[in-house]
Symmetry: C2
Subunit: 209 residues, 2 copies
């Protein structure tokens, strides 16, 4: 896909919210159509923003009827690539790694964690969610054999960048970093830093008001 | 603080990144001044955005010298309320709860987890990070006695909204939700939903490109 055709991250995040609303609240209750006002109220946005966002991916509603929920869901899923399939390796078999691997939502977005590695010999050989924790020196073999595209980093802060560099060297396409550090990557690798401190800052700011 | 004076979430998140850059990279290396170009390169933003954001909180650089790193850090911390102190209760002593409570960054933002509760009698009485897991029926007592302002939800999806409602009833001021659902709150309660699916969607989208 051409870079100029890429959706902005903020739009992407709003589309995910619309998709959730449609899947979780609307389709569950066997409602087939929904108005932009309803979506806007759920997502805490202006109606005009909702209409603009959905138009941007080619979804148009019918006047006085609204949007067909099933159409919105399928268009968002298709546009965002959720129906394709990707393999991931999780590096770091600690508490956070365990929590992430047991998150039930991965398959819904096409992501499959197929291997776990850890540098601690006390952890290798143990089972987490049906996968055997493998030693760090197998990382290259695993990535090549399984054709893994995504690396999930749940290692301590001090080893996050060095682990990222190793995965980049193995030609991974994207990194999902949970260590409390912003890791640096070359332009052709996509990184998403899930930095708890952004959430903490947001909460501290609102509590101080 | 007046609602109209509130910083937008996107600005807040950028300020947190600037603050990190100054604290982690600049001050560690005993550099005292930094240019907007350096901050922009780190934060992957335009220089003009960096200057505008810092001006918005009253920080101005010196031509040909740049910003004093220590001033930027102290102004951001002060403006965002990181030097104040808040108490939190964590509800849900599973793997995710355990991972969050062991995150080292809380105190840096003034947040202190002072209690953990769980509805599972097999978990109550056990210790996590120096705190005894308490039964759910003590939640009200704990919140009142400790004057807790923040509730951290690491419960399963099915019990997230009901737990949130109970905390709101106990007059909690803010909720940090890690369950995979967007919880609804009244206008006077601040909620931050940390939804892994947004990250998943972002990654799936980039891998599909």
């Amino acid at each position: 896909m051409n870079e100029s055709k890429r959706l902005k991250r903020s739009l992407l995040e709003r589309l995910v919210r619309y998709c959730h609303f449609m899947q979780d609240k609307v389709l569950d209750e066997e409602i087939t159509t929904v108005s932009s006002a309803q979506v806007a109220a759920y997502a805490e946005l202006d109606e005009s923003q909702v209409r603009k966002d959905l138009a941007a991916i080619g979804v148009r509603g019918t006047p006085r009827v609204g949007y067909r929920a099933a159409d919105v869901v399928s268009t968002i899923r298709d546009r965002l690539g959720f129906d394709e399939s990707y393999k991931a390796v999780l590096v770091g078999a600690g508490r956070l790694g365990g929590a992430i691997i047991s998150y039930p939502g991965f398959a819904k977005y096409g992501l499959h964690i197929v291997a776990i590695v850890d540098s601690d010999p006390r952890k290798t050989g143990s089972m987490i969610s049906g996968l055997v924790v493998q030693p760090m020196h197998r990382l290259g073999q695993i990535v090549r054999r399984e054709q893994i595209e995504l690396g999930i980093l749940t290692v301590p802060r001090a080893s996050a960048q060095v682990t990222a560099d190793r995965l980049i060297d193995l030609e991974i396409k994207a990194l999902w970093n949970f260590a409390p550090i912003w890791i640096s990557v070359p332009d052709d690798v996509h990184v998403r830093n899930e930095h708890l401190s952004v959430g903490l800052a947001d909460l501290a700011y609102h509590l101080s008001g």
